[in-house]
Symmetry: C2
Amino acid sequence: MRKNFPMSAKLRDVAEKAGVSVATASRVLSGSAEGVRPERRQAVVAAARELQYVPNAHAQALARSGTTHIGAILHDVSDPYFSEIVRGLQRAAVDAGQLVTVCNSYRDPERELAYVGLLRSQRIGALILTGSGLDDRSYSERLAAQINAFASTGGRPVFIGRHHIAGDAVLPDNVGGARALARALVTMGHRKFAAISGPPLLTTTRDRLDGFKAGLAEHGITLDPAAIAPGDFTREGGMAGMAHLLDAGPAGYGSIASDATCVFALNDAMALGALRTLRDRDIDVPGRISLAGFDDIPATLDTNPTLTTVRIPLAEMGALAVSLALEPPSDELRVRHIRSEVVLRESTAPPAALSR
Amino acid sequence: MRKNFPMSAKLRDVAEKAGVSVATASRVLSGSAEGVRPERRQAVVAAARELQYVPNAHAQALARSGTTHIGAILHDVSDPYFSEIVRGLQRAAVDAGQLVTVCNSYRDPERELAYVGLLRSQRIGALILTGSGLDDRSYSERLAAQINAFASTGGRPVFIGRHHIAGDAVLPDNVGGARALARALVTMGHRKFAAISGPPLLTTTRDRLDGFKAGLAEHGITLDPAAIAPGDFTREGGMAGMAHLLDAGPAGYGSIASDATCVFALNDAMALGALRTLRDRDIDVPGRISLAGFDDIPATLDTNPTLTTVRIPLAEMGALAVSLALEPPSDELRVRHIRSEVVLRESTAPPAALSR
DNA sequence: GAGTCTGCTGAAAGCGCTTGCGAAAGAACT
DNA sequence: AGTTCTTTCGCAAGCGCTTTCAGCAGACTC
């Protein structure tokens, strides 16, 4: 494709026009050499400008065997959680003169694996894998194989928010954050909880749920398994999850909502959905029921009531991942643990009837 | 950098292991040839798998002089407006087997120009420029030069939502949408309006403002220039803009809010911010004042009240841009006009005191 | 003024892959 | 068995750039 086009000027053209050899031209244009007489230097620069010369990055990559490209694989850029991360990634990457290729895996393991291959073939210098890891044997093994191969050829894999297979990692404190949230909620007066969970196989789901349970357990409270609605980390999932809690309720329990005074949605997107369902049914938040999310995506400030959540510094994590990727590799894997922080807002309040 | 690493397997290794020539290996691995005996074919495939062979995309790009990479330059991926577009872009690109490199320009013309160069040097096949164009002479000219050079070497530039310099374009109907919105608002009963504008140099700002004014004009209403607060298309800008309207008010007019019954924020992000300011001051929306935005980003559904806005199919526009970029080039520039649609939600209602 | 350095340059060898072209090896015909 | 087609392959020439290495001035020694 795109053949027989007046191919853009190449280094040779510049060299000819400047009356020097390609070697010299390369030296001045790629900056690597000071050892070129000023006059020629200028001649080359002038010729390059005149010809609108743009170096062929592929040729350069081939010749130098290395690129200035970073690959990032994540669930979906338009999901605020990831787009915040990407923002941090981008910023740090640009500062380091790197370009970023982002790929949406839509949480499809196969697609993710395919992207790893594609990105590897682009000879990216670093690969950043974001999003909860999947707790699946076959997948993990295949991914590990790819990652190892990548790393063994000098590539730098970095994981964000997921169990790291063979690379540095930036991990938010899901367990601790959820536990702290549970504590805060109990302190507020809540005793009966319900939750909207995430995809069962995601490690994030497990960590947050476990942390939350642990926090409750500290106060001798248990989370009834029947009060855990399935969810998928999307807004729609949150809507459905809340509806599930409200309608079906666990067999024999009647509606959960008439029982629980506080619902923990495992991420903000679902909390947003849950809030919508609640509003649609005219259920007062936090009057009748308190609601908390996790992540602290920007939208949590625009809801009414504003959403209580656990803040994790998404953009910073992205930036941190890039800097890890760009640091010279070390012998042992580096893991950066990121503190999470409970942010109490309007969507949670002491249970209305403090009777109990 | 990253030298002396056990470089990953190359085609030659695969060929040797399979006992064939690189030419043959290339043929089977790159699929371009059916003319290879099945047995050898399999031998090559097997060898490739065994060696974990990953083709070097740079070498391929160089040899074929062409890539399967699309570049996209936009304001900021984490801005919902753009992340929706990117989502559409990504989807369409993947379907076409293309990778996408996204670059955040942060609306900085210099950065944008620099990215065009960088992306060109990556020999991307298509370049998608998103976000409002800047109404600046020098910038336009330099960009046009770059774009023309790109196009003249077979590259396919496509513009989304901005005046196209020299490439196909996907344009939302900003003028028409804003006009329709104005009509709807007037029909609802409003007579006095205020607006929160965008960056003055952006064409989008002008189009939306002009459209809105035109809509009002149809009913003999004019928008007092003093009732137009400056804005910057961000949430914070919206907060400030609304505060400006509320506090400062135009000299001699007293507070705009005590006058206008409806505020049009030129995009949803600002509308969100405006809503926040309104809530902070306990000003009822739409009871005391109606509010409308533009774009219909997902977050408009999560506010309370939900936001009246003008819907433009962001994701579709992204996808459309990719398909334009991938179609064989035509002689004349193709321009796809995208219909926008007024979506009335809870944030607008007839003015409380229909006295007037 | 012969011998050494230093500083610039250019020739040329790749980087890993694709592909046009001719050769080899069968297949199909007299 | 000798010819003529087809297939199927491998050779080798790039793709555009970087970088080593050796060459050649001119600047320095003594």
